[in-house]
Amino acid sequence: MTGGVRGEVLAAGPASRASHRDPLGAKIGMWLFLFTEIVLFGGLFILYSAYRARYPHEFHEGGQHLNWIIGVANTVILLTSSLTVALSVTAVRKGRQRRAMALLALTVLLAAGFLVNKYFEWGAEIRAGLYPNGPELAGRAPGEQLFFGLYFSMTGLHGLHVLGGIGVLLAMIGLLWRGRIRSDDFVLLENAGLYWHLVDVIWIFLLPLFYLSA
């Protein structure tokens, strides 16, 4: 009845699924995923603000036990790694695959450095008994216990994202090596870069909330 009305033939014939490429679509999908990441951390930020409003003094106390030098050093490390990942996208766009791979490898090194710092930092705090149910923390005020509960939850979740990011970046190096990321098809690398920037941005919020709260 409405027959061929809608059926005007398009010049482009049946395209097979495999050849379907849509960089803009891929970017939309990535941005939507980033929104979910922001909301995921958002739940923790809500808790942080609620509890900080309730226990301002205890949060101040808690912040004094964190090592702000490591915090700032890690910020510098992550910001630099964001730069190197951005440069690698530019390099691919200009067709310089090797340079892009080198920059990504540098990014991975920086990310690993971040985690190493984190390891020593957490290690020192745990040795001091400043962890949930730890001997030192258990005797402190409830608000301070919350501060450290949130500190370990939020930096821990962020650390997992750094670890995931290392995996993604290594995969990108592999794809560059096999020529799957090229100057005419690099949306995967762009998306990986977007993800890495998000990891960076979240850290930028964590730094003042915890390390500079004292």
Binding site: M1, D22, G25, F35, L47, S153, L157
Partner: protein, 542 residues
């Protein structure tokens, strides 16, 4: 109804017989959106009947005062399991996973979704979550007994296997998020040429709004559930009063997701109804723009009403009043849909086909569910009704009377398209009677019991509620019989049904312009859209 321009039904290359891999692997490794839809349909059907069986057993327990067929702790596990299965594994994936997957690309004139492999991955996440949830029943120290809401601090203290169940819900959330991302991107990028936003059918509109809710609120439940796990294993203290934490914040975070999740459940059903009503009334939908916009409005306002679940939890007066007001507001876009559907019927050529019958039932039952919801939005009444059977009755009217009947209506509407077979219309109508009678006997009685003061989740009841419980339990038998009859109708049709034509209902949207069942690539050539979606031309029809 179809013109000779269309290939005959069961044309070569139907998605059911695509060549390539055969057997089970051909299904569980296929990235064809239609095959993934069937994978979900099979899983969801099994889970629905598991959930329904538990429901019937719970009703049986309430048939007599005291212990009837189970102990109190078993009853606690039963209502937890019933809730977790029905909410996380049936109604939330529900229509988007089955009909959204099958029809979204077809309705917008595309060959598949934007990310077919991601689509298959969401199904695997769904299966993994389901397996973990089942494992939580048989491992650890007993099945969870918290109710599907996992309220802290009980969920942190109980010795039952909450951690694994919560992790299962976390994984199921991934599935939901990935489907949402996929659908939003698909709608932005893959609409056929000429299909402007206002030429897009209303089911895709509803899926679009649903997708945004999935993407923007599901991560909140993810982090909340993760915190419950962290709390149980490491004692981080965020919901533990002994460490300064506040269980009320758990409730806030939980409902920031779980109230919008109600709209994840109902919006796609509303979208399906918006397809069914014009098709079977053979009339352009009334108020197309309003129905489309009200989906977005529901998604937006529905995200701001969560605390109406917490009026008795000890929030401030100001918060209570604001959330009460917002709750009243969210009724408006739902009412807009109901009025537009009924207005569409006016002067239409209504065929009381099975899908139409179930769709009209949806409107009736959903209206009761919606209006009882508004009642609870009123602060004074809420204090009386909170945590009673009235709540249970209300959300079953919305979730089962709404989404459930919406699902059945969608199934009846698109079954011929999906399977290429026609079911017995008489059997579908015959199933409707026990379904409708049983449903109202069961859940309307619950509304009454709730107003009399029967608390929800109680294993036992006082003598004054006995008659009501007997009526409700008898209702559950009718309902179960109806469900079995409806399932039987479909199963018989699968094997013995007549071949369905491409367009059995005289529909005008794109899915009816291609063969039943659709070919692998959906369209031989991507159509160009030149008209609004529901233009019925009475002169041509015949």
């Amino acid at each position: 109804m179809t013109t000779s321009a269309h290939p005959p039904p069961h044309a070569e290359g139907s998605y059911l017989d695509p060549g390539g891999r055969k057997g089970l692997l051909g299904w569980i490794l296929s990235t064809d959106h239609k095959r993934i839809a069937i994978l979900y349909l099979v899983c969801l059907t099994v889970l629905f009947f598991a959930g329904a069986t538990i429901g019937v057993l719970m009703r049986l327990e309430q048939l007599t005062p005291g212990s009837t067929i189970m102990k109190a702790q078993t009853y606690n596990a039963m209502f937890t399991l019933h809730g977790v299965i029905m909410i996380f594994m049936f109604v939330i994936p529900g229509l988007p996973a089955v009909f959204g997957n099958f029809l979204l690309p077809i309705l917008i004139g595309a060959r598949d979704v934007s990310f077919p492999r991601l689509n298959l991955a969401s199904w695997y996440f769904f299966v993994a979550g389901t397996i973990l949830a089942v494992m939580s029943l048989f491992t650890g120290s007993g099945p969870p007994d918290t109710g599907w809401t996992f309220y802290a601090p009980f969920s942190i203290r109980t010795g039952t296997n909450v951690s694994l169940a919560v992790f299962a819900a976390f994984i199921l959330g991934f599935s939901s998020i990935l489907t949402g991302i996929n659908f939003i991107t698909t709608i932005h990028r893959l609409r056929a040429p000429g299909m402007t936003w206002l030429r897009m059918p209303l089911f895709p509109w509803a899926l679009y709004a649903t997708g945004w809710i999935q993407v923007l609120v599901t991560p909140i439940i993810a982090i909340t559930l993760l915190l419950v796990i962290l709390e149980r294993f490491f004692g981080v203290g965020v919901f533990d009063p002994a460490k300064g934490g506040d269980p009320l914040l758990y409730q806030h975070l939980f409902w920031i997701y779980s109230h919008p999740a109600v709209y994840i459940m109902i919006l796609p059903a509303m979208g399906a109804i918006s397809e069914i009503i014009p098709t079977h009334a053979h009339r352009t939908i009334f108020g197309y723009k309003f129905i489309a916009a009200s989906s977005i409005a529901i998604a937006a306002v529905g995200s701001l009403v969560w605390a109406h679940h917490m009026f008795t939890s000890g929030m401030s007066e100001a918060a209570n009043t604001i959330f009460s007001l917002l709750t009243f507001l969210v009724a408006i876009p739902s009412a807009i849909k109901v009025f537009n559907w009924t207005a569409t019927l006016y002067k239409g050529s209504i065929d009381l086909t099975p899908p139409m019958l179930y769709a009209l039932t949806f409107i009736f039952l959903f209206s009761i569910g919606g209006l009882t919801g508004v009642m609870q939005g009123a602060l004074a009444l809420n204090v009386h009704l909170h945590d009673t059977y009235f709540i249970v009755g209300h959300f079953h009217y919305v979730m089962f009377g709404g989404t459930g009947f919406g699902f059945f209506a969608a199934m009846l509407h698109w079954f011929p398209k999906i399977t290429g077979r026609m079911y017995s219309r008489k059997a579908a109508v015959a199933s409707w009677f026990p379904l409708f009678v049983g449903f109202n006997l069961l859940y309307f009685t619950m509304l009454v019991l709730g107003m009399m003061g029967m608390p929800r989740r109680y294993f036992d009841h006082l003598p004054q509620y006995h008659t009501g419980h007997v009526v409700a339990t008898v209702g559950s038998w009718f309902l179960a019989a109806g469900l079995l009859m409806l399932a039987g109708t479909f199963i018989i049709a699968l094997f013995r049904g007549e071949k369905a034509p491409a367009n059995p209902w005289g529909g005008v949207t794109l899915e009816w312009q291609i063969p039943s069942p659709p070919p692998v690539e959906n369209f031989e050539t991507i159509p160009t859209i030149t008209r609004p979606p529901y233009e019925f031309n009475p002169v041509e029809a015949g």
